[in-house]
């Protein structure tokens, strides 16, 4: 007799689990192409409009108090030689704002408008770091410095293994 009641309860719980991991106060439209929304201020209006953002940001933890997702923990890259990286492709990734965007923080030889908060990479080839070490730094530097600002490009799935191999080859080539 009370079965429908439990059915409703389970359906409700299942819906919560299915609706995705983002918190209830996130600016998200589950049916929008990238889910993440960006506000659009409409002049002389009491309502705030929302538009799809260029990138889906729902997979990573937000600042919401309702967000119960932990920070993905640091990962060892498990680099296997040989490197097989392409220097030219690595440079393109380093300068591309949508991919590596290394230039936003690092001074790179010969490139315009570098950031300054990352370590200088000038003359990197002379420092004698192993490819495995450089690869790990790009993949997830938190294993080397737990309080690093550098994004964990491998662990967070921002770059592919080949991207990181190309970047490693590029960084190891810098004069």
């Amino acid at each position: 007799m009370h079965l429908p009641l439990y059915g409703l309860l389970f359906a409700g719980l299942a819906l919560c689990a299915w609706a995705g991991d983002w918190p209830a106060d996130a600016a998200v439209d589950a049916h929008a192409p990238t889910r993440t929304l960006t506000p659009k201020v409409v002049v002389n209006s009491g309502r705030l409009a929302w538009e799809p953002y260029k990138r889906d940001l729902t997979p990573w933890p937000s600042l919401s108090h309702l967000d119960r997702r932990p920070t993905p923990p640091p990962q060892a890259a498990g680099f296997t030689p040989p490197l097989r990286g392409d220097v030219a492709r690595g440079r393109a990734i380093a300068l591309d704002p949508a991919r590596g965007n290394c230039i936003a923080c690092h001074v790179l030889p010969g490139e315009d408008w570098p950031g300054s908060l990352g370590h200088l990479l000038l003359g990197y080839r002379k420092r004698g770091h192993s490819d495995a070490y450089v690869y790990q730094q790009i993949y997830d530097r938190r294993l080397i410095n737990p309080n690093t600002v550098m994004p964990p490009f491998g662990t967070f799935g921002l770059l592919t293994e080949q991207d990181i191999r190309d970047l490693t080859a590029y960084v190891q080539s810098l004069d």
Binding site: V28, V43, S45, S62, L63, H65, L117, V149, F156
Partner: protein, 300 residues
């Protein structure tokens, strides 16, 4: 029959407790979120910048800025962009239009005097109101920013002024303009405001998003450094000019600015008025205590 109902209720309650006891559901223990450490001790006053960027003496007094710094791309960040506060552009800009709109909306909303009373301005005296928000409101049972209060009090008059909308920010800007030059003065020494400040402080150091940045990764650890073409500024003294007219954008409330910060840093943004943004607003406003309200301001 009542016994059967009690059994069912007990079973349902037990089921809910069981499910909520799973890690990650409603676990009282926080999820393991990385923090940018150490968690700094912040002074809830704008002079706290003396121990962070040390640039405070250069922008403490708007009327005595060294304009040679404003003209230098290497050094203008040391003025904390205060050179764009009024009367930087004494010609008409978007902030002035918003101010006029805000005044008209306010007069219409407050015809009965109930709107001002709801905002916490007895007898319609708006002077100084902006300097005492965010505040704890016992009637709402939570800490609210001025824009959230405007949304709430407009709804009580039957009007929709969504938090973050142009009209909401316009009314907020008008109210702020009546506190022009008065120092921000919120009390975060006790009670719910202190709790909100502490949550905001922790959020400021909480890593988030696809790049795993915390606000503090840049705005505490790397103030003055360059991110591509921009210098990183201090979090002190930064909320006195909101809502702000963005020359590249629109009228922008602080919560909309936090959404822009989140998007730029690859973090999923929240809705304006979310608890987390309000906690950050309390934290950042406390770091502007003692700095005069400066509207209508522009920023790029």
């Amino acid at each position: 029959m009542s016994k059967a109902w009690t059994e069912h209720a007990t079973l349902a309650l037990g089921l809910m407790l069981l499910l909520s006891a799973q890690p990650g559901a409603a676990d009282p223990a926080e999820p393991r979120r990385e923090l940018d450490l150490p968690l700094e001790r912040y002074e809830p006053h704008v002079r706290g910048d003396l121990r962070l960027s040390g640039t405070y003496p250069l922008w403490r007094d708007r009327s005595r800025l060294d304009w040679r710094l404003a003209g230098s791309p290497e050094e203008h960040w040391k003025l904390n962009w205060k050179f764009m506060d009024p009367p930087y552009n004494s010609a008409v800009h978007g902030g002035h239009f918003a101010l006029d709109r805000g005044e008209a909306l306010y007069r219409q909303l407050d015809r009965s005097g109930r709107f001002a009373a709801c905002l916490g301005a007895p007898r319609g005296r708006l002077k100084g109101l902006r300097t005492r928000y965010p505040r704890y409101r016992a009637d709402l049972g939570r800490v609210v920013g001025l824009e959230e209060a405007i949304e709430h009090c407009a709804a009580a008059q039957g009007q929709v002024l969504e938090n973050g909308s142009y009209d909401n920010s316009a009314v907020s800007l008008y109210i702020a303009s009546l506190s022009q030059g008065l120092p921000i003065a919120i009390d975060v020494s006790r009670g719910p405001m202190r709790a909100a400040f502490e949550r905001g402080r922790r959020l400021f150091h909480t890593r988030a998003g696809r790049l795993n940045f915390a606000c503090s990764s840049c705005h505490v650890r790397n103030v003055g450094q360059m991110l591509r073409g921009s210098h990183i500024t201090t979090p002190y003294g930064d909320v006195a000019h909101y809502p702000v007219y963005r020359t590249q954008y629109m009228l922008q409330s602080l919560h909309l600015r936090l959404i822009e910060c989140n998007l730029d840093a690859g973090v999923q943004p929240l809705r304006p008025g979310s608890r987390a943004y309000t906690d950050l607003e309390v934290f950042l406003t406390a770091l502007s205590n003692g700095y005069p309200v400066s509207v209508p301001a522009e920023r790029h």
